[in-house]
Symmetry: C2
Subunit: 197 residues, 2 copies
């Protein structure tokens, strides 16, 4: 990797942490300069604007969170068990970039504002939900999942309850909301989603 | 109401809208001056700091959202039906202060930052969940609710899935996530929460 690329990547990593904890507006240039050890000119040599940097920082933070949540899913053969593992990953594994879920943070940060960040968050949500839904679709035929389940809506319910619980757990500094939702989703997946002869 | 009180209240109402849409960091003094038609000195005659104003603005926005969501609940006699009405209120009724849920916005905005706002959001979450849990507790004895239901965890599941769905619906500009979660919570309340002889 060339030195310029290395510096660019270092800025993205530091910015990801800063923006994920303090938001786009709250992540100031002075904090970014402090975190990277670079002057303003040194940062903007690599990015045309704060917005461009924030968009790349979001993608970095999101890829890290996504990888953490989807980890080891392929090794679980049954689909319902795979969805349960996904829920467990979300609850138990903390992504490398601190500050909570980049998608939730950026969605809230940008829903009345920054269109570039909003677009990135929207793409992240769509690809995440599609990935979960595709796990379900492929297995309805194989009689692992009940036929009356709507894959997209199931993915929506799982994502929304986990994201809401994460907001509550972070606000309360208490794992109980995440654990309550985990136990409830597990019950739902067993009773209402798993195919039974 | 004295003129000073009226002006103070007007500032709170305008600030509530601004901060709920753009966050504490994103709601700038110049935007606040524009929204209120007042100079900086005219605003700070009534508040000791931006933080104090933001805290009062949060309380205003939250009381409005809370009232909207709890509307008409007392008129529904059965507890499960009352919880279903609550879910319906959340999905169907938009609070007077635009920008989404003040609790969700402020929780995300302040979880790595502003301790005063964080405290307000925490209090809002606690009183909201207690209120929902107390509806449930009072009726377990009356055999409207199954005895194995944990009232606090039930309230947690309802709040978290609705808040997560609101985030998704606002990001996608599509009601479907809220409708998917509504239908799923209704099913859950009927099948797993309602007492059956």
């Amino acid at each position: 990797m060339f030195k310029g690329e290395k510096t660019r990547q270092k800025i993205v990593v530091k910015a990801a942490r800063l923006f994920n904890q303090h938001g786009f507006e709250g992540g100031s240039m002075s904090a970014l300069m402090e975190a990277t050890g670079l002057e303003k000119g040194g940062i903007y040599r690599h990015f045309s604007s704060k917005e461009e940097l924030a968009a790349e920082a979001f993608d970095h933070a999101w890829h890290s969170a996504f990888a953490t949540r989807m980890q080891d899913l392929e090794s679980v053969p049954n689909t319902v068990d795979r969805l349960k593992r996904f829920v467990e990953n979300f609850v138990e594994r903390r992504p490398a970039v601190p500050g909570g879920c980049p998608l939730l943070n950026t969605a809230i940060d940008s829903d009345d504002g920054n269109p570039v960040l909003r677009e990135r968050a929207l793409n992240a949500l769509h690809s995440w939900r599609s990935r979960l839904a595709s796990i379900v679709i492929s297995r309805i035929q194989k009689k692992e999942i009940r036929r009356d389940i709507d894959p997209k809506r199931l993915a929506t319910v799982i994502i929304s309850s986990l994201e809401g619980a994460l907001m509550m757990s972070r606000l309360e500094k208490d794992r109980d909301p995440l654990l309550a939702v985990e136990s409830y989703l597990e019950g739902y997946l067993e009773k209402e989603v798993r195919f039974r002869k």
